[in-house]
Symmetry: C2
Subunit: 344 residues, 2 copies
């Protein structure tokens, strides 16, 4: 299978004009450089006829700019991230930018490799939802000239622009809601320890307890991953000692965790909210359609993709890194039927 090798030069040869002329015409600079209408017409029509495709690689090399943006997400199958990716891709296309997609799979090694790879591709910028446990490699990338925007997760005290949700307040609200309904022993099913969403969410939970003068019990914070399995196994363990532990509610820090929990509870015949109440992070299309309609913390934003791109574009062409303006999206508690009011 031989490649369709129509280049500017091959066309130049057959048409008897210079490559310069062709380049200019095809870039719409014909008039500006006084190329005659005849020639312009000639070039455009033959380019069209031959199905000429400019070689973006050559272009990128010459212009030292790839019109390409790297996107690193932990897991594209998580709807939250997928929606992000969709928004970013759509918006990027409007600006004639392409997206390089990398899944880090919540593996810091993969994340580092992905960054190196994207830099090798001379991407004009990177939007990343970092694992969140380390930030040196990100700072290094930023310093070496690759504009960066963090999304969903950020690092305290690190000067990198970010967009995130107000997870702290979201979590506080959710916990407060449980407390208002009489719950005091609330298990917290967490995601990856040390990541900023998890930190914030757990801290929000703690803060709500403190506010209400409920002593914080560290043994109630369990789990270590945002995945389905973590929720499932944590719930199974919890159920074993449910009566003894006197836990009446769960706050789940991620939608996948919640699905795992729901499966486990279903298998064990634990009723929601009669036997156990639950609130979950991450509103989903199906949240209201589950066997018990879920009370969730929603923190998605339709145009989060726009915002991320704008923050990236803002960094282009700036000679010095200005103090980044960060964006924090509000979260909202959506109340449904997964929490029972109990006597306090």
């Amino acid at each position: 299978m031989k490649k369709n090798n129509i280049t500017i030069q091959s066309m130049a040869k057959t048409l008897g004009v210079s490559v310069t002329t062709i380049s200019r015409v095809l870039n719409g600079l014909g008039e500006q450089f006084r190329i005659s209408k005849r020639t312009i017409e000639l070039v455009t029509t033959t380019a069209d006829k031959l199905n000429y495709r400019p070689n973006n690689i050559a272009k990128g090399l010459r212009l030292k700019k790839s019109s390409t943006i790297g996107l690193i997400l932990p897991d594209i199958t998580n709807t939250w991230f997928a929606q992000l990716a969709l928004g970013i891709e759509k918006e990027a296309r409007k600006h004639h930018y392409n997206i390089f997609l990398c899944n880090s799979n919540d593996d810091i090694k993969v994340e580092k490799k992905s960054i190196a790879l994207l830099q090798s591709w001379m991407v004009d910028g990177i939007i990343i939802a970092p694992i969140g446990l380390e930030s040196e490699h990100l700072q290094k990338a930023s310093k070496s000239g690759t504009p960066l925007v963090l999304i969903d997760r950020f690092f305290e005290g690190v000067n990198l622009p970010y967009i995130s949700s107000n997870d702290f307040e979201g979590s506080m609200d959710a916990t407060q809601y449980l407390i208002n309904n009489g719950h005091k022993k609330i298990a917290c099913f967490q995601g990856i320890v040390g990541t900023s969403p998890n930190n914030q969410r757990v801290n929000g939970y703690k803060q709500a307890l403190k506010k209400n003068k409920i002593p914080f019990d560290p043994t109630l914070v369990i789990g270590d991953d945002f995945g389905f399995n973590n929720g499932y196994t944590c719930a199974k363990k919890l159920i074993k000692h449910l009566a003894k532990s006197k836990i009446t509610a769960i706050i789940s820090m991620g939608n996948q965790i919640t699905l795992g929990v729901l499966k486990a509870l279903k298998e064990e015949g634990v009723q929601i909210p009669n036997d156990l109440s639950i609130v979950s992070f991450d509103e989903q299309e199906y949240s209201e359609l589950l066997y018990t309609p879920l009370t969730t913390v929603s923190h998605m934003n339709e145009n989060i993709g726009d915002v991320a791109l704008k923050m990236l574009f803002n960094q282009f062409g700036k000679s010095t890194r200005i103090k980044p303006k960060n964006v924090v999206l509000n979260s909202k508690l959506i109340i449904r039927d997964s929490v029972k009011k109990i006597a306090s």
Copy 2:
């Protein structure tokens, strides 16, 4: 913000060796070209120290090969496609390939543009879940030397390799299951008319009816999109005349359609399966956790990404296009509680 411009040449100058030498060392060809250990050591350590990143764009230009693969999907927020994307990306990374992601958004114009763009990027191949209504642009791309693999949807009589699910049988099985449970008036909520999954699914539905000597009623096939809203509006209309129409079951041709249906039924207080039975395409993690556990047609395959990539790699370096070997994945009916047995 100035770019980190460490190139092979800048290093050559500071080290006092030739670019050739550096290139060879960094590509692990040092020994082969008899570069002394001292020099190898020198080059590798300084490259490391300076945080040198090879310029893949320059490399791509020289080698006429980009080590990238284009991926065009209708909608990454559809979990089915997201899982596909994840699998492909993971597998591609193993082979040191990068993924260019494009969402076609089920818009043929965007699809065509995406192909042109990917060709401009000199991608080594394209994996695409096409809208499915036109194939000329795909054949053109393939003929012009870009290896192609179709996924999920294909074109009858067009010589392009594809991976798809056995949607016909899946649909037949599902419909047969409904029939076995006494249903005769079965509404079919379809996706985009003319696409191969939709064709196959609707045909499977028809075939099952025929087999059981149930006359086919075209007014029972409704809808025109794989999205949530289509399911929602179709269901709303259906419910209005539910009693009169004597429809007892729905077969939904996509998971998003189904969610829309479930929402509508819930709003209208229509009970599943008591008032209406339903089977749905696309098994999801949450399928069993919905307010009525869904009977679904599962047609996902863990390593579908591997397969797609292998089919693509197989085309690399082949001088002639060989007759493609297509892959059809089996589908499986997962029986849960959304179908009621009725007197027939």
